[in-house]
């Protein structure tokens, strides 16, 4: 719709410019709203990804003999035990009774659940109390200065 009383050419020219401006800015804005996320995406986040398969549970001199440590493995707690003889054992720390988090008892030399007094031996077998099944056991390897816990094959 051309405004009456104006020189037709000028009106058309300025309208043309406005439209080009609208189009240009619209296109630019939309491209920015796609390109910006893509660029942000490509920059790696500070927290690196760790595989769910293995985790560094502790450093080599962190645990004394006859002690234990609860650490995060995937999205669940896990327990690293250093036996009185110095061997490492690792298990899921999720009690098989009602999912409380178990702990190592250095006085009993066994793994204990504080909720209902369930006990597991150092092979993860349920030996006393309500737990109906043994704890899932994991593999432990010492690599250099690190104690690495990984899921069994």
């Amino acid at each position: 719709m051309e405004t009456p009383g104006r020189i037709p050419n000028d009106g058309v020219q300025s309208r043309r410019r406005w439209i080009s401006l609208l189009l240009g800015s619209g296109v630019l804005a939309s491209i920015a709203s796609f390109v910006y996320p893509a660029i942000r995406y490509m920059i790696p986040p500070p927290i690196g990804e760790s595989t769910s398969r293995s985790v560094v549970a502790a450093s080599v001199n962190e645990l004394k003999n006859n002690s234990g440590k609860v650490f995060k493995f995937g999205s669940k707690p896990a327990l690293l035990v250093r036996t009185p003889d110095g061997d490492y054992r690792a298990f899921s720390a999720v009690c098989t009774h009602l999912n409380c988090t178990v702990q190592y008892r250095s006085d009993l030399h066994e793994i204990w659940c504080a909720c209902h007094n369930g006990l597991y031996d150092l092979s993860g077998r349920n030996i006393s109390g309500p737990p109906p099944r043994p704890l899932e056991s994991f593999e432990v390897h010492v690599q250099g200065e690190e104690v690495i816990v990984s899921r069994s094959a």
Binding site: G26, A29, S30, L98, N99, T101, A114, C115
Partner: protein
């Protein structure tokens, strides 16, 4: 008749001697040819543990297993025949109380079953001449005795309740003793029976609490001890709680007072407090310390449960909207743990003990709730971002549209 049997026996023995290499006792060869009750023991004995270890009829019943004639069953030859009911325990104990003899077969086997039995209600009554009580063969079977670890045995843990039920669930049988007959039917409703049926043989059945050979109901003052053999924390807490002296003074049976003896079902949180289903209200009434204590404990539990539910709900909403909240959900796990422990601490019957756990759980739930709020905020930020980009798109589209109109209204060159 005896003559005919002897002829047939000799023929069979001759046949079996020429065919089978292992000499079976004549008891078996003869009795297997008879029918009905007389042949039954042979059939039953096939799978018996006694047969597996190389024993045979004469080892219990005496007599001469090499003699094919009826003479093999003469008392002069040491034949003991079928023992009377009142003689059965001593009959079995002839071997089973002889440690040296038993250890020839199983070095770790116990040999005190008879002495235990004599302390039991069954044993005591048998000595007084009551033949309606259980003796060895009533529970273990007669000729087809299997070890208790064999799933077919009537004393395999899963089967024990139905074995006891044979007498104890029969109105007719128990009438003269004035003992109720609902124990097994109550037990079947219990959580112990449920776990046992799922195959966990550590779950208690009749013999676990009452003993097997020395079967006696636990006395009122020792109920907590019995339950406490498995439910350790609850016994410890109970014994330190004000309920212990109070129950002892009133002669109340500890755990059974609230949890029942046989029909031990999964307790619900409604049992705590002063509501309709509460067990506290059966003794406590408005105004006494216990009543207010119960109210507080129930209140603490309910408070934690509400906070947990709130946190779970918001996290689930966030998750359904596509936000990733799995680590917050994991953290919430320790609030669940606090609730589990708080329920244990109810048995201290001291609201301070419960509150310290519910406060801890409430804190964790609050953190998780905040994580959920943050997730939902992030979701709203995304939607706002979407709004912005949609505006940019609408701008672009209207620009395009106007451009098209402009181009196409130009006079064509």
């Amino acid at each position: 008749m005896r003559f005919v049997a002897a002829i047939i026996a000799s023929l069979l023995v001759a046949a079996s001697l020429s065919a089978a290499p292992t000499p079976e006792s004549t008891c078996i060869t003869c009795h297997s040819m008879l029918d009905g009750k007389l042949a039954d023991p042979v059939k039953k004995f096939e799978s018996a543990v006694h047969r597996q270890v190389g024993l045979s009829c004469a080892d219990c019943h005496g007599g001469n297993p090499a003699d094919e004639s009826m003479d093999s069953m003469s008392p002069a030859k040491g034949f003991r025949g079928v023992p009377r009911k009142t003689q059965v325990p001593e009959f079995c104990a002839r071997c089973h109380s002889d440690i040296a003899y038993m250890h020839r077969f199983d070095p770790k086997m116990r040999a005190d079953q008879l002495s235990q039995y004599l302390t039991s209600v069954h044993g005591k009554r048998l000595k007084q001449g009551d033949t309606k009580v259980a003796v060895c063969v009533d529970c273990h079977g007669v000729h087809n005795i299997l070890p208790a670890s064999d799933t077919r045995s009537p004393v395999y843990p899963v089967n024990i309740a139905s074995t006891c039920a044979r007498c104890h669930a029969s109105e007719e049988h128990m009438r003269s003793y004035n003992i109720p007959t609902d124990q097994v039917s109550s037990y079947e409703k219990s959580v112990h029976a449920e776990i046992l049926a799922q195959g966990d043989t550590a779950a208690p059945t009749c013999a676990t609490c009452h003993g097997n050979h020395g079967a006696t109901p636990p006395g009122v003052s020792s109920v907590a001890n019995v339950c406490g053999t498995c439910h350790v924390f609850f016994e410890q807490l109970f014994n330190k709680s004000p309920h212990q002296p109070a129950f002892a003074a009133m002669g109340l049976p500890g755990c059974v007072q609230c949890h029942s003896n046989h029909e031990i079902v999964k307790p619900s949180d409604d049992w705590v407090g002063v509501g309709q289903d509460s067990v506290c209200a059966t003794c406590h009434s408005q105004g006494d310390k216990g009543y207010t204590g119960a109210q507080k404990i129930a209140g603490d539990l309910a408070n934690l449960k509400t906070r947990l539910a709130r946190a779970e709900e918001i996290l689930n909403t966030a998750e359904r909207s596509g936000m990733e909240v799995s680590s917050a959900k994991v953290e919430l796990g320790s609030a669940h743990e606090a609730l589990v422990k708080a329920r244990v601490n109810v048995h201290a019957f001291d609201d301070a003990e419960v509150q310290k756990l519910t406060d801890e759980g409430a804190q964790v739930s609050e953190k998780a709730y905040q994580a959920g709020v943050a997730a939902l905020n992030e979701r709203d930020v995304r939607r706002k971002g979407l709004g912005v980009s949609l505006i940019a798109i609408v701008l672009a589209i209207s620009g395009l549209y106007l451009k098209i109109r402009q181009i196409e209204s130009r006079p064509k060159t």
